[in-house]
């Protein structure tokens, strides 16, 4: 699958602070790419570069092989829905629709009317700034989807939405993706939700992408193993990469890097009482990966 978005060696400094430190990222076309990372990792800054809002100090941001910055022909197929929404002072939904229609040539008025069913709780003649945060977010999805983007960039997209609306929005996005091959790049801290929808995941930390894989690969390369031995834990072979280990009596739980079946085979050679390989959630992968990058959970007693 060819890359819809390609970011190479992207660097950005805000004064003396290095926000992006040589980011490399590849988002395949038609996929949903989840960008995760701790607070302050540089996710929002990266998304703003991809949208052509910020100008990079170094490196390149290419969409379908073309630079984005100051390129309306590229940007007309891209929509950003950020956590930090902005609407004009007095504008209502209908007025904003008129604005989007004037700006985005592919604005689909029929879809707007169709989606009115989904967003029926929104009074289209009421000032958007008077609506609740969740409703404002719904308006942004409504307008964003109707602009028929080929690339949808979401920054903390479903924050503030109720569970029903969250599900509704994701369903809409998945349907649009299926229908039009839309590429979605989503940055979120809600890893459980991402796990359900993402094809690819990039983990960002300290201004760099530390790991970028398909979700399947990611889940395949780290596993949780539970085992127990008669005489306590024997010395493990050097090839055995343990990211984290804890025990409860004689039962040991390990987060192991590499192929899970290979890990099982290695352990079975040590004659355990039992070996069990459990699936790892994205949240666990994130926590243990970040632990390896000095961002682990600190045991603090208060």
């Amino acid at each position: 699958m060819t890359d819809m978005i390609r970011v190479e060696n992207l660097r950005k400094n805000f004064g003396e602070f290095c926000a992006l430190d040589g980011v490399d990222m590849h988002v395949p076309g038609g996929s949903i790419y989840g960008l995760v990372g701790p607070n302050g990792a540089g996710k929002t800054t990266l998304l703003r570069h991809i949208m052509g809002i910020y100008r990079q100090d170094e490196g390149s941001v290419l969409v379908e092989g073309k630079p984005v910055y100051e390129q309306p022909d590229v940007k007309k197929d891209m929509i950003l829905i950020s956590d930090d929404l902005f609407y004009f002072q007095q504008a209502d939904t209908l007025e904003m629709k008129g604005f989007y229609k004037g700006i985005y040539p592919g604005f689909d008025e029929k879809l707007f009317e169709k989606l009115q069913e989904v967003f029926r709780n929104i009074d289209v003649k009421r000032r958007i700034r008077k609506l609740s945060k969740g409703m404002q977010k719904q308006v942004s999805f409504w307008l964003g989807l109707c602009s028929s983007p080929r690339i949808l960039i979401l920054d903390e997209p479903v924050d503030g939405l109720d569970p029903v609306m969250r599900r509704q929005i994701w369903n809409l996005l998945l349907a649009e993706k299926k229908k039009r091959g839309m590429t979605v790049l989503v940055s979120s801290h809600n890893l459980r939700e991402l796990e359900e929808v993402c094809d690819y995941v990039g983990i960002m930390h300290q201004g760099r992408i530390r790991m970028e894989r398909s979700l399947q690969e990611l889940q395949g390369c780290v596993s949780k193993v539970q085992t127990a031995f008669e005489q306590g834990m024997p010395v493990l072979p050097e090839t055995f990469q343990v990211l984290h280990m804890s025990n409860l009596g004689r039962v040991y739980t390990m987060i192991v890097k590499g192929d899970s079946e290979k890990a099982r085979g290695e352990l079975e050679k040590l004659h355990p009482l039992f070996v069990d390989v459990l699936p790892l959630t994205l949240e666990e992968i994130f926590i243990y990966e970040m632990g390896g990058a000095d961002y682990g959970i600190q045991e603090i007693l208060l």
Binding site: I53, A91, F99
Partner: protein, 635 residues
């Protein structure tokens, strides 16, 4: 990509019209009030005088209508709304949310800039045009068909709007906050005047002979509001027409201001293209401007505070205070420097090693500059023009005079050289006597050389009036007194450069104070007036009359408290000396002067007694005697 798509986006334009309607609507109301509304009221108030002939009545009505344009030619409203409009249409740059949203749209920055720029400019121009159209109807309704006056106003108003708006947009680009944008706009409007004032004040404090106050200079146009306020006027052209109708004058500068506005627009676009959006809410949005802001802030704080403290602590102190300027100026400049840094970084603790080093460099440059000024590296103190290059010298000392003859110019140059050479002596005198105002007496002597190349050079000195200086005929003060003792120049001081062409108006009078301090005035008849004038003229030209400086002690005993007041007319353009600065008779109003009588006015006093205006035995008091009586009465 088509040109229209490249530089204009109609959706954003429509959004601007809808979002900012309160601005253009308010401006429309202001325009409608200051032009058609005010004009209508003025013309309506005009009542036709039946006795006047038709042509005269029409001319009078037109004069009323044209004079009613006066509120509309003031630059203040258009500069105010220019700023509001400019900052409003680019206000999305001042919040990261709005800046990100707008710049995520598929619109180039050029198109964003030009669309917003055009929107804001039209907000100003369309209301002006509508006001013009309504005024045309008001004028037509009152039978006035001279549209050339209104068209000239429209051109003026549009030119001012273009300049004000472009300046506001330029200011808006330099910062990331709306309020700072407004401050920056005001600062840019007065930047030139501020810089000139600081330089003049510093020079005046350190360079012997330089004036601390700023006069007019060629660059005054760089402070547009004050320049337009001063130069654009409704005035009657002097062409001896039967019915004088005022015209809008001083509009020549608009062409240059138009060019300046184009340059500002181009610069604003260039800044916008290179602007980093993360600068939203920063005080200074352009990174390379931050050191400029710190340094300029430091210089402004240093110059302003030093001058203010000088004025408050040493109002009567003459002479050089280099050490005070160096020390106080450096401290306040460093304070200003760090204050600007605090504003930039929005925090108080800004004393980092890097910034302290920069401040050190700044202070080193400042001290070097002050030392260079004090040491007169540019030889400003010694600078005296070549005699051949001088067309005239305007002097203000004991009185005012203008020298044109080569011999007079030569003598004046000699006095000036003597004053420069006596600098140390005079400064020492003032330093020794600075605390004792009773003991010290001084006069200010100012020279303005009018040079043949069209330029001018002004110097101003504080000189001691002690007898030891005045009576030394080879010294600077002795030579100055000798130069000033010129009966012909005395006559010109009172009765203009052309006393022979003077026409008395018959409104002259004599004013007497008797021994009890009682004041009496006597209106002179035309015959008395003429005879008094001739007697006074003879006294002045005889050489017995003298004008002494205000603080010179001989003045108290030589001058009488009684004086004559004359009123006269002159040919228009005749040089007069009664007002401060060079002035010429305008022909509008008669000149009114007072001439104090002195011991040398023998013929004048005799004539006053002969005419019975003054009793034969009535004593005339000297100024000293009068002061004593006044002090006793007050006591």
């Amino acid at each position: 990509m088509g040109f229209r798509k490249f530089c204009f986006n109609s959706t954003i334009f429509r959004k601007n019209v809808r979002s900012y309607w309160p601005i253009w609507f308010s401006w429309l109301l202001v325009c409608l009030w200051i032009l058609p509304g005010y004009t209508w009221l003025q013309i309506h108030a005009y009542t036709e005088a039946g006795a006047l002939e038709q042509a005269r009545q029409e001319a009078e009505k037109l004069r009323y209508a044209v004079e009613s344009l006066s509120p509309a030619i003031s630059p203040w409203p258009v500069f105010l709304f220019g700023a509001v409009s400019g900052i409003a249409v680019f206000s999305y740059l001042y919040q990261s949310r709005s800046a990100n949203m707008i710049h995520a749209l598929p619109v180039r920055r050029e198109a964003l800039f030009l669309t917003n720029y055009i929107s804001g400019l039209l907000f100003l121009l369309i209301p002006q045009f509508l006001a013009f159209v309504v005024t045309v109807f008001v004028w037509f309704g009152h039978g006035i068909t001279h549209l050339e006056y209104l068209l000239r106003w429209l051109g003026l108003a549009a030119g001012e709007a273009f300049l004000a708006y472009s300046l506001a947009v330029f200011a808006a680009m330099l910062t990331g906050q709306a309020a700072v944008g407004a401050i920056c706009y005001v600062a840019l409007n007065y930047l030139y005047k501020g810089v000139v004032s600081i330089v003049s004040a510093t020079m005046g404090m350190l360079v012997y002979g330089m004036n601390r106050e700023t006069g007019e200079s060629w660059g005054d146009w760089l402070s547009p509001i004050s320049f337009l306020q001063k130069n654009i006027q409704l005035a009657v052209r002097e062409n001896n027409q039967e019915f004088a109708i005022p015209e809008i004058q001083g509009t020549d500068c608009l062409f240059w201001y138009g060019l300046l506005a184009c340059l500002l627009t181009g610069a604003a676009l260039a800044i916008y293209r290179s602007r980093n959006l993360e600068a939203a809410s920063d005080v200074v949005a352009i990174s390379w401007l931050k050191p400029v802001f710190r340094w300029c802030g430091g210089i402004a704080a240093g110059g302003f505070c030093t001058y203010m403290v000088w004025g408050m602590l040493f109002p009567d102190r003459f002479g050089n205070l280099f050490r005070f300027v160096l020390l106080f100026g450096s401290v306040t400049a460093a304070g200003g420097f760090f204050l600007c840094e605090m504003i930039i970084r929005k925090k108080f603790l800004v004393f980092t090693g890097k910034r302290l080093k920069e401040c050190g460099l700044f202070l080193a440059v400042l001290v070097l500059f002050l030392v260079c000024v004090e040491k007169d590296v540019l030889k400003l103190e010694q600078k005296v023009p070549e005699e051949e290059g001088i067309s005239g010298i305007y002097l203000e000392g004991s009185y005012r005079m203008y020298l044109e003859k080569p011999e007079e110019i030569r003598r004046c140059l000699e006095v000036h050289q003597c004053v420069i050479q006596s600098r140390k002596e005079f400064e020492q005198y003032f330093q020794e006597n600075c605390r004792d105002r009773e003991k010290r007496s001084a006069m200010k002597w100012s020279l303005t050389y009018r040079l043949k190349n069209g330029r001018s050079l002004t110097r101003s000195y504080d000189l001691p009036l002690e007898d030891c200086y005045v009576e030394d005929s080879e010294g600077a003060m002795g030579k100055l007194f000798a130069l000033e003792y010129n009966p012909r120049k005395y006559l010109e001081y009172y009765f203009s450069a052309a006393p022979e062409q003077l026409k008395l108006t018959g409104e002259s009078s004599f004013h007497h104070i008797n021994g009890k301090g009682e004041y009496r005035s006597h209106e002179l008849s035309e015959e008395e007036e003429e005879r008094m004038y001739q007697a006074l003229k003879e006294d002045i030209l005889s050489g017995n009359y003298r004008i002494y400086p205000w603080e010179y002690k001989k003045r108290d005993t030589e001058n009488y408290a009684d004086f004559l007041a004359f009123s006269y007319r002159l040919p228009k353009g005749t040089r007069t000396f009664q007002e401060m600065g060079e002035s010429f008779y305008t022909g509008k109003y008669p000149e009114y002067i007072t001439v104090p009588l002195t011991r040398g006015c023998e013929k004048t006093i005799n004539l006053l007694r002969e005419l019975g205006i003054l009793d034969g035995n009535e004593h005339i008091m000297t100024e000293r005697e009068f002061q004593n009586i006044a002090e006793d009465m007050e006591f």
